[in-house]
């Protein structure tokens, strides 16, 4: 009986993932983020669609998630990091982001709306790159990835303040940036 329960809950979890993914993909496509041209437009600073989507997702998500956290309804899952991980990994990712013109989420959407460069070249590249990292991981994890390790630290923990003293200023800052983008016609 217990085994069956476990199996049902695992299947439910997988179905929930699929369902959330369908909505996520639908939204990314509607926003234009599955298009190489839109992503390169962002990186060439001529089209700010990607930043507008990301910042409005962050401000909306952050307010809701911190309210839910305050009510004890969700547990946050901040990822661990270090300067070695986050800075170098981030820059390497950025190089790939510009060469490929998609990221792991948007490329999945790009496969769905018919971008063949994504489906043929990009997906294979990401899988190869991930495999290379897995092969080098034992070495890297003992060296560079540990440099400047700070773990799952969040900004409120870093500043030693109540979360809302960070959430509200960050929300206002994001709204200000979005306002400035619109005001300057970007």
């Amino acid at each position: 009986m217990n085994e069956i329960n476990k199996k049902t809950s695992k299947n439910k979890q997988l179905l929930a993932g699929l369902f959330f993914g369908i909505i996520f993909g639908f939204l990314l496509q509607k926003g234009g983020a599955t298009s190489y041209d839109v992503i390169l437009g962002q990186l060439l600073l001529t089209d700010f669609t990607v930043v507008k989507i990301m910042l409005s997702a962050v401000v909306t998500g952050m307010l809701g998630v911190y309210v839910l956290k305050g009510m004890g309804m969700v547990t946050l899952t901040p990822k661990p990091g270090s300067f070695g991980m986050s800075v170098i990994g981030g820059l390497l990712f950025g190089v790939g982001f510009a060469l490929l013109g998609y990221c792991p989420g948007t490329i999945s959407g790009a496969v769905g709306d018919g971008h063949l460069d994504a489906a043929i070249g990009g997906v294979a590249g990401i899988i190869i790159g991930s495999g290379l990292f897995a092969a080098l991981y034992p070495k890297l994890s003992r060296g560079i990835l540990k440099k400047g390790y700070f773990g799952t630290l969040t900004l409120p923990e870093l500043l030693r303040v109540n979360s809302w003293f960070v959430v509200i200023p960050v929300a206002l800052l994001i709204l200000f940036i979005l306002y400035r983008l619109e005001a300057s016609g970007l």
Binding site: F20, L43, G61, M62, G90, V95, D113, S130
Partner: protein, 175 residues
């Protein structure tokens, strides 16, 4: 049906939708939206086809098990969701060479695919190095105010903007 068949929605509406979707992934699945780990798992699954179960003993795959789980299904869902959206709007289009690429680098499909593969390798490698991608760090992590995610997301764009400038304005400019 008009709204659902529109080619594009406002980026603010899309962003708010993704933000609200995050509330529900935290509430219902106790997880944050992310995509790049699924590619690492896939890489492990493919390696397993050739090298058998000893792949599971690799240090990396002891943490990131090469199996189908929530996020893997999420990525499958993204493909389907984007397909539905583009079919409904008539925006679905088999396209090998993106127009912006073609303007600078021409329409040789091999060149575009070569860049896509090399870019993909950097992207996959960098995502695993940083522990997340534009969704896992850039959206989900920053909204949780994780220090790792803010640093990574800023570096994604520093690396991306510098590289795009290099290939379009320096290399592309010289062509």
């Amino acid at each position: 049906m008009g709204f659902i068949t529109e080619l594009r929605w406002s980026p603010y509406l899309v962003g708010m939708g993704i933000g609200i979707l995050s509330w529900f992934t935290f509430l219902i699945s106790k997880k944050a939206i992310g995509c790049s780990t699924a590619f690492a798992r896939t890489s492990g699954m493919i390696e397993k086809l050739f090298r058998g179960t000893k792949v599971e003993k690799k240090l990396y795959y002891q943490n990131i098990k090469p199996v189908v789980e929530w996020q893997w299904m999420l990525v499958v869902g993204v493909v389907i969701g984007s397909f539905i959206s583009s079919i409904l709007s008539g925006g679905f289009d088999w396209q090998m060479i993106p127009p912006v690429w073609a303007e600078t680098f021409g329409s040789n499909p091999y060149l575009r695919i070569a860049f896509a593969v090399i870019g993909g390798i950097f992207l996959g490698f960098g995502a695993r190095w940083a522990g997340g991608c534009t969704s896992g760090h850039g959206i989900s992590g920053t909204m949780q105010l994780a220090v790792s995610s803010w640093i990574a997301a800023i570096c994604f764009f520093i690396g991306g903007i510098a590289t795009a400038y290099l290939i379009y304005n320096i290399i592309g400019g010289a062509l």
